[in-house]
Symmetry: C2
Subunit: 144 residues, 2 copies
């Protein structure tokens, strides 16, 4: 039984971020890969949509310049033949401020012949913004 593409991608992705070593990752990306991390791109320029291997390698390099991953736990996971989704909890450090950040993330991935063709990531962005600015943002209470 061969290893699911998710595990190989996940190892190479985290190595790319923490060791700034993209060599393992490059052959695991489809030339036309579609990529999106949904969130406020004004604050996090490495969020947003990218298309194609070069653009995705560049954005992963940018992520690696901004955060270090300490650990991650998959709280939920689904594996298909050529697809995978997970809900994960990450412990990160923001490198510019040296602040710890704890973040919940969901991803949906598609692979073809072992290469990533689509990756969409949803982030608990309000929690991320508050931890990044370092103070609570005052919110009105919605009627209930």
């Amino acid at each position: 039984m061969t290893e699911h593409s998710l595990w190989r991608f996940s190892r190479a992705f985290h190595r790319a971020i923490n060791e700034r070593q993209l060599d393992d990752l490059e052959p695991l990306l489809d030339d036309e890969v579609e990529w999106a991390i949904y969130g406020p791109i004004d604050m996090f320029p490495f969020f947003g949509a990218r298309r194609g291997k070069e653009a995705v390698l560049e954005v992963i390099r940018q992520i690696g310049e901004n955060v270090r991953v300490h650990r991650f736990d998959r709280e939920s996971i689904m594996l298909g033949v050529d697809s995978a989704s997970s809900m994960m909890r990450y412990s990160l450090t923001a490198l510019d401020s040296n602040k710890p950040i704890s973040l919940r993330v969901a991803h949906f991935a598609q692979f073809k012949a072992g290469r990533l063709t689509s990756f969409r990531v949803l982030v608990d962005t309000f929690d991320l913004v508050e931890q990044t600015v370092g103070y609570p943002i005052h919110l009105p209470r919605m009627a209930i």
Copy 2:
């Protein structure tokens, strides 16, 4: 081939919200169902964790008092035997302000004997907060 539990749950869930009719939903919830929508509970008291059928019916009733669902599109979906995950885009109205809200959401669901046993929902919360307050929240730019 029987229908996947997700479809029955999804119909009953949206009917519960828009028609405030919980009768179809009640038999589709496990007595010990675990439920969580991650996000700022100070602003949205119907976010957060709930446990057990009664608590989940009550929180779905609260959601129905606060929003109306106009449409939803599943952008990604994975179905397992007793599990499902989707990334979805919702078009909602906030009932207190009559404001339209467009929202990306990811859910992971587990079923047992056709009943929901676990439901975890991640929301693009910063986007939701900005749309709810109705003005952009100023953010510093993270170093890059």
